[in-house]
C-alpha cells in the first residue's frame, strides 16, 4: 500500500516501527503500513513491565492479529518508562491510531547513538513501496 500514512517528523526502523526521540526518552509504535499489513489486531501482550531494563533486539510485546502473531523488539537498550495501559483492553487502537493512542513503548535511553541506524520518512516510504510489490 503506497498510500500509507508516514508522518514527516518521525524516524523509522526497517521492521516497521516508528520512533520519536525527545530529550532522552524514546516513544515507539508500529507504522500505519505495519498495522495495515497485520490487519485486525485483537490482542496485545506485554512481555515486560515498567522500570525494567531491556536489551537491544529483545521482544517487549506480542501483537496478535487475526491472521498472525508478531513480536515487537526494542531497537535499542534502555529502561522502560511506559507501556500503553489502554492496549490490552482496546487492541484495535493499533489499527485506528498507530501514531497516537496506539503507541506501544516509552524508553529512557542511555544515549541516542542508535539514531543513525534509523530511517527518515522519505527513506521509509521507499521501503514500504518496495515491500508492497
Amino acid at each position: 500500500m503506497s498510500d500509507s500514512n508516514i508522518p514527516q517528523d518521525l524516524l523509522y526502523t526497517s521492521s516497521h516501527e516508528w520512533i520519536k526521540i525527545e530529550n532522552n526518552t524514546m516513544t515507539l509504535g508500529i507504522t500505519d503500513f505495519a498495522q495495515n499489513e497485520l490487519s485486525d489486531i485483537v490482542y496485545v501482550e506485554y512481555l515486560i513491565s515498567e522500570d525494567e531494563d531491556i536489551e537491544k533486539d529483545n521482544p517487549f510485546c506480542t501483537i496478535e492479529a487475526v491472521k498472525t502473531a508478531e513480536d515487537i523488539n526494542s531497537p535499542v537498550k534502555g529502561k522502560i518508562t511506559g507501556i500503553n495501559p489502554k492496549l490490552p483492553d482496546d487492541p484495535a487502537l493499533l489499527n485506528k491510531d498507530p501514531y497516537g493512542e496506539g503507541w506501544l513503548l516509552k524508553l529512557e535511553l542511555s544515549d541516542d547513538s542508535f539514531k543513525s541506524e534509523l530511517m527518515d520518512a522519505t527513506q521509509y516510504k521507499k521501503l514500504t513501496e518496495e515491500s508492497s510489490h
Binding site: 490487519s39 485483537v42 490482542y43 487475526v66
Partner: protein, 365 residues
C-alpha cells in the same frame, strides 16, 4: 502462473487485499477489515468469490452406485436436487477430501476444495475405470459466488422470479438469476442462511455488481477468505489441510454423521468398521482459551505436563469475543468440560473443551 477469477476487477474496485490462494489471486479481506466482515455476515449478509472451488461431474448408467462407492455418506438417500456433505476416504481411512454432492436430474455434481481439485479428479478417474461412468472436471469453466447471512434471501429474491423461500436447506435448482442460467443452492460454510451460485465463467459479466446493487439496502458487504475462515471455525466446520487430511479418519474428526456403515461397500469401509470397533485414539475437539492469546495451527496441547495433542485451527472469534481453537486430543481427554493446556509462545494457557459449535445463533435454515 497465478490465475485470476472473473471477479478480479470487482475485488480491486472494492479495495480488496489479494493473496495467492491455491493458485488463485483471491481477496483475503476488503477495506472494512476482517472482524467487520464477520460481524456483518452474522447480522446482515456478505458476498464471497469462491471460484477457486472445484466442480467434478459424474454421469452414466452407474453414476449413482459409483458416487456412493467413493464417498462415505449415503448418496442413495438424496432426492433429485438435494445435496449432502460427505468425505471421500482412502482404503486406509485417511480423507481424500471433503465435498458436497449434488444430485442433479442427469448427473452427480461434486464440489471439492480448490486445493484438491487435481488430486480428487485423478483419484476419481482411477476408481472409475471399472465402472460405466463419465467423469468430467468442470472447475476451469465454472465461477462460484456465495451469499451468506440472515439477509441473503432478501437479496437473492430481488434478482429472480424463482420462489426462493420454498427452497429448503441443502437443496438446489437450475434457475434464472440476474438474467442468467445458474445453479443455485441453499448451502454455505458460515452457519448462516445463504446461497451458493454456480455459473459458467463466460456468463459472469456484471453479476457481482448486480448483486451488490441489490444488496445495498441490506448492507451486503464483499467479504474475503479470512472472514470465511473465521465463520467456519465458529461453527467448527472442518477445513481440509488443517483439521482433516490424508492422515485423519472421519471418525477421529468427529464426522461420524457422514459415515454410513450400513450402506453398500464403499472405499475405506473395512478400515472404518475396524476403527469404530477398536475405538479411536484421538478426537477433534473445539476449545475456548482462557484469556486472549490465540491458538494457532501446530501448537501443542498438554494435560498435566504430557503432550496429548495438537491445534489444527484457531482464531479470535468476533461473534463470541473469545479466542477459540480446534485440535486433536487423545480420546480419553476429549470430553467437553475438560480443561487442557495450549502451549502458546512457550507458555501454557488453559482452555476448556466445549460442545460444538462455538456460535449457536446462526440463521441457518
Amino acid at each position: 502462473m497465478i490465475k485470476t477469477t472473473p471477479f478480479y476487477e470487482n475485488h480491486i474496485r472494492y479495495g480488496a487485499k489479494l493473496v495467492d490462494f491455491v493458485g488463485y489471486n483471491l481477496p483475503i479481506q476488503y477495506k472494512n477489515g476482517i472482524v467487520a466482515e464477520v460481524k456483518n455476515i452474522r447480522e446482515n449478509a456478505g458476498i464471497f468469490d469462491v471460484s477457486h472451488m472445484g466442480e467434478i461431474e459424474i454421469k452414466g448408467t452407474q453414476a449413482l452406485k459409483f458416487t456412493n462407492h467413493i464417498v462415505t455418506n449415503d448418496v442413495e438417500r438424496l432426492n433429485t436436487n438435494q445435496i449432502l456433505y460427505t468425505v471421500m476416504c482412502y482404503p486406509n481411512g485417511g480423507i481424500v477430501d471433503d465435498l458436497l454432492v449434488y444430485r442433479r436430474p442427469e448427473s452427480y455434481f461434486l464440489v471439492v476444495n480448490g486445493a484438491n481439485v487435481e488430486k480428487d479428479y485423478k483419484w476419481i478417474c482411477e476408481k472409475a475405470e471399472s465402472w460405466d461412468v463419465q467423469v468430467k472436471n468442470l472447475s476451469d469453466d465454472i465461477a462460484q459466488i456465495a451469499i451468506q447471512g440472515p439477509k441473503s434471501e432478501n437479496i437473492v429474491k430481488k434478482l429472480t422470479d424463482y420462489e426462493i423461500e420454498n427452497l429448503p436447506y441443502y437443496h438446489s435448482d437450475d434457475i434464472t438469476f440476474a438474467s442468467r442460467k445458474v445453479l443455485l443452492s441453499r448451502t454455505g460454510y458460515t452457519g448462516e442462511d445463504g446461497f451458493e451460485i454456480y455459473l459458467n465463467k463466460s456468463e459472469v459479466g456484471d453479476i457481482w455488481q448486480q448483486i451488490m446493487t441489490a444488496g445495498e439496502e441490506f448492507n451486503l458487504s464483499p467479504s474475503g477468505l479470512a472472514a470465511r475462515d473465521i465463520l467456519r471455525m465458529e461453527m467448527v466446520y472442518c477445513l481440509y489441510g488443517n483439521d482433516i487430511s490424508e492422515e485423519t479418519s472421519p471418525l477421529e474428526a468427529s464426522l461420524n454423521w457422514v459415515v454410513k456403515m450400513k450402506k453398500d461397500d464403499f472405499i475405506g469401509k473395512n478400515f472404518l468398521i475396524e476403527q469404530k470397533k477398536n475405538g479411536i485414539k484421538r478426537k477433534l475437539v473445539p476449545f475456548i482459551i482462557e484469556g486472549r492469546s490465540i491458538p494457532r495451527k501446530g501448537y501443542k496441547i498438554y494435560r498435566e505436563g504430557e503432550v496429548i495433542g495438537e491445534v489444527t485451527s484457531g482464531t479470535h472469534s468476533p461473534s463470541i469475543e473469545k479466542s477459540i481453537g480446534i485440535g486433536y486430543v487423545n480420546k480419553e481427554f476429549s470430553k467437553s468440560g475438560n480443561i487442557i493446556e495450549i502451549e502458546i509462545r512457550s507458555k501454557k494457557t488453559n482452555a476448556e473443551i466445549i460442545k460444538s459449535p462455538f456460535y449457536t445463533k446462526g440463521s441457518r435454515k
